[in-house]
Symmetry: C5
């Protein structure tokens, strides 16, 4: 579905143009065309391929989707794929995709399986003609920056979930719930990692060393995107590392708790075993058991048993078993 198709000159919007006119505007030296598609059909992509003279393999990737994030050079043009993480209504993390074709005189973005639009990026660019004058490379930057900015809330969500789990780690009886949450957290972290790490690697080639021509004049901006990605990636790695430790600590806590349970069980079992043993002894049927005949034998026995059990109770209490 076509969202919009606009021609720019010297950083200023020239006009909304029909698709058929694209190839004409693209040949004008100081002009570029910026097209946005959404869930593009096969026919739309083929039309674009002809208008912009896109490489077959890149179009195929945009069509099939489910690519890993990457930036590929095809001659003078670039093909970029980025992931768009999205929390669906059930709280599951889904991954949409945006494919961007960039040439000297055009930008074509194709958004798939995502409900987030990039209209804001276009209007912000149009408000800053000084920057937009840098051309298609700057539009690529603006789109990337917008995508990467959308990663931050996910990292924040993962970090706050981690903090919630951490607060529960040393609470007794929560081990099972903790471990389930940690596992889910780890999974989501990996989903985000797969969006960030390959993109970081790709963006690092857009500044510093040999840079594709179309991005050359916006190098410092791409370094800024790279810096954001490095920061996000470091946070993700830190979360993963912490989860690994937390899983181990959680296991330790379960084992410690089990040890405490065993001790408590041992203590009470011991106390009642002693009572039962003494009761058993005075329940023996020997003919000659003088204490059985005593007037106060019974209360004395009860007192004795209670005393022994009380003594044990105190010892166990002191040893921290109860």
């Amino acid at each position: 579905m076509l969202i919009n198709c606009v021609a720019y000159q010297n950083g200023e919007k020239l006009a909304d143009i029909p698709i058929a006119d694209i190839s004409e505007y693209v040949t004008r030296p100081d002009c570029f065309v910026w097209v946005a598609l959404r869930d593009a059909t096969d026919a739309e992509l083929q039309e674009m391929q002809m208008e912009f003279n896109l490489h077959e393999l890149a179009v195929e990737d945009a069509h099939h989707g489910h690519q890993r994030p990457k930036i590929e050079e095809y001659g003078d043009s670039l093909f970029a794929v980025m992931h768009l993480p999205e929390m669906d209504d059930k709280g599951e993390l889904n991954i949409g995709e945006i494919s961007i074709f960039v040439g000297n005189n055009y930008v074509l973005s194709v958004r798939n399986r995502s409900r987030q639009d990039f209209l804001g990026v276009r209007s912000r660019c149009e408000r800053e003609p000084d920057l937009l004058r840098q051309g298609a490379g700057f539009v690529l930057y603006a789109l990337m920056d917008a995508v990467v900015d959308r990663y931050f809330p996910f990292v924040d969500a993962l970090e706050s979930e981690l903090e919630t789990v951490e607060a529960q780690i040393f609470v007794k009886g929560s081990a099972r719930a903790n471990i389930e949450r940690m596992y889910a957290l780890k999974r989501n972290t990996m989903v985000l990692k797969h969006a960030v790490a390959p993109l970081m690697e790709a963006v690092s080639k857009l500044h510093g060393g040999r840079v594709p021509h179309v991005c050359a004049s916006s190098q410092e901006y791409f370094r800024d995107v790279d810096d954001h990605l490095v920061r996000i990636n470091a946070s993700i790695d830190s979360i993963r590392d912490t989860i690994n430790t937390a899983v181990q600590v959680n296991l330790s806590m379960v084992t410690i708790e089990e040890n405490e349970t065993t001790k408590r069980l041992a203590a009470w079992a011991g106390i009642f075993a002693v009572a039962t043993a003494f009761a058993g002894i005075w329940g023996m049927n020997f003919k000659n058991m003088p204490e059985l005949q005593w007037e106060y034998g019974y209360p004395a026995a009860l007192f004795f048993i209670t005393a022994v059990c009380g003594l044990l109770f105190r010892r166990f209490k002191r040893a921290g078993w109860l």
Copy 2:
């Protein structure tokens, strides 16, 4: 066993040719020969070695089989080995092999221990003479692409097996079955990893930097294969990482379950130990135990014991031990 032996010119099929004529066609400047063998015998390989002037070490590797995936340059020609994973009838993962010799004017593929043929690759190539015109390098690409495409279903199978196991991880009593499945999954993942990782490393040298001459004109296609391999490899690493966490989580779950069992055991043991202790006390043979003489002593005792046990039951229930 010879499957077919065809000469091509300008991307068009020229003719099926007898093996003896190969050396003649190979010398024609704009012509190349594409030979496919299957489970080649020693004699067949020697014949090919002479026709194509192959390097002794490469022929030896193709003969012995059980190589790791690799791409080696011998002067102007290339020697590639790829793994062909195959699920046998018992559901075990077996690894066949395809060895490919590529020169400026020839492609020779030798398939070993695999039931999958590559006839589809040849017919697809013949339907696209524009691409096939790129020569032997493009055939290498087409074969590689076909091999790599066959890895995807295996990755999908591993991922769906992983999801099945994950769904079982937090189910009580399934720990033993889980751990067995995870271990099998890990093994299969490693088999696939050994097919993918070395190949990825090798293919990455067929585009970008210094590229063997025969592949130079098809660089973007090899980058596409590389991209697929990187994607598969990332999935495999992700599966392995998840299994490692899952094994740990599974161990935690077992320990948590054991703790719960111990608590339940402790609770019931405690309740019956109390009943036994009281029964033991009233079973003592002291002469003077007034309550034994009471009219309703027995039901009172039963009620008392039941009450105490009930009280304990409620406390344990509340504490989550029962």
Copy 3:
């Protein structure tokens, strides 16, 4: 908030100058201006941006804060961000930030969320005009050196906390406290790691190979800072590695302790079960049980039971179960 704004010439302090005069002094060839801000407002930063002609992206970073440590080149000038760890009143580790802009003729430092000032750095520099003559690059070094020197006490604190925990690892009954402290220690170590590792990577580019012009004459000093960072980083890695082992060892100790508890429980349970079993046997109501009629049957039975229990006690004692 402006802290001070001073112009220097040939390593000597020229004068405290008003902000408005900065742009004038900056153009003098052998003169540089050193400005220090604290928790700078938006307006202050914009003023500085104009006076020093700073790059928009760098100013944005300094304004937003929460950057990872880095050193970026913008044309001839450098933009550095460093973390300032600080123990707050509750003993929590907080991270402040200092952003430094360095050009050929100026240094601008902006300190955020930190109570530590750098007045000492300025006065030390003014006491060494020979070194200060090297210019803005040396001031950058002096500030970096001061920041890095503040990391050492934190590393020392982590190491001594680690030693305290280690001394507790093999003490019985301290597992729960240990694991909590180790976890907190790991977290703090990671906070420091995030301050040190990226900075180390960045500083390593200020000496040796291609060095930014402004730092070229102070290369050996930056190598010294780098060396300190490498040392700190090695200590941090060593602490992390040790904690990982310690967590595992702690788990082993808990399991060993549990084993000992189980054995002790088994031993006492065994002893009392034997007593109860014998008492139960002599409590049976068979008519013909000769020993019940013996004169000294009861003491004999008591003696027998005590003897058996004593024997068991000795055996368990020897086996190390009690």
Copy 4:
């Protein structure tokens, strides 16, 4: 001990020569000398050092032995050390050593602490004069190839031992034996790893980039050796990785087994505790316990107790505890 000392010309054996004549043959342009020593004495090594003009440090290494595998350049000559693993009569893995000095016109091999000879290598070389004509570099290759070929059976042995252990992992009651075997396996794997990994690193410098002059004409052969080493190394890493997982899985199995034991214990203890409790209740000495007077009270009680225990048994059976 001298094994043999032969001069070759144009790939053909010239003559067995006495040691004293070595220096003469070495100076002939198209001739080279191949000497093999075994457990060389100090005197023999000094003699060789003079004849071949070997570097003092290399001779020292060959003399002391216990080097790690390596290939070092001394001017125009090479010094290589390789490990020779050997299973001794007790089934322990011992490591012998072969040191090889290679110059333009000589090869000197010194074998230490190993019962395996390399006579086969010499005779195979002599049967292939075409290859032997490549000179001393080819002899180095032939020796390396022979050494590396001897690693394969060890890898196979480790792999089959691993398979045996894996088949035992999920068998109950074998955990202790498994863990001992896995530990021994890990140790042996590491011994082999130390033989392979440094050698692989060293051989990788004998082909591809800047190659020592003496090896230049045999590059493709050294790449073949490298390929074998990479394959072996990958197998070793795979074994190590699998052992690590297997150790964890084994621990999980033990914990699972312990859980099952605990449950079974809990079940039987519960059943008998119930029986004992009821028996205890009917063993109380209350005067007024009507059921004690019933004609069929006793069988009814027995039936009741059996019924309750049977019920419990069925429930535990169903819950999988028994």
Copy 5:
């Protein structure tokens, strides 16, 4: 404290010279001065700094001590720091330090916190004038070689301690002692690692590629030192890896042992619970219990109980629980 100060010419000792004359000898073209200090005071270091014109930062490092091992270039001169591990009287591993300043015409070594001297190095050098003629670089090598040679016994000690622990791993009841020893071993291994790994990295730059001028003529000797360090480092890594596995194996052994204890406990508890249950049944007070009246009821009951318990005992024995 000055140990000695000697001038050398052409590899021969010229004379012991007073410190004041150093600067004179240093300017002679074919002469160099070798000074050794021990626990140098501030004044001594300043004197040396003036005589040899040392860089301020290097002198500071030598003064403060507690550096990590490193080799730094200051213009034409080198500054090296190495660790000197030492077992003190209590068996604790302490780390001394030697700082070495090397220029074209001088070597200055400063030893701190170590009781080991390097007199042997000097006398060995003086006995080999041919090598000493290489100049200050060779002295640096000789000192390094001596330091590195002192690492070997520590590695051997760690390895033999590891073997001792390994021999104990599968012995029952030694888990607690094992884990303590392994932890101590790991700590000591890390101390040595910190001495070796950074030094190895530094020495690797003294041979092969771009080498500091003063070391250029002794490259092969530095490669020899590097080779030793690589060997030591590999041993250390191997020890660490083995300890990690051993800690895990030890934990498995504890868990296995606990399982065995639990089984044994379960077995005995079961046997006595059965005896108690039967005794309890015959201890019930039902009026009509015919077997109680039998002449041989009591021995029959005893026999029955013993038989059942014996049967259980045999079953448990066979199942390996006892």
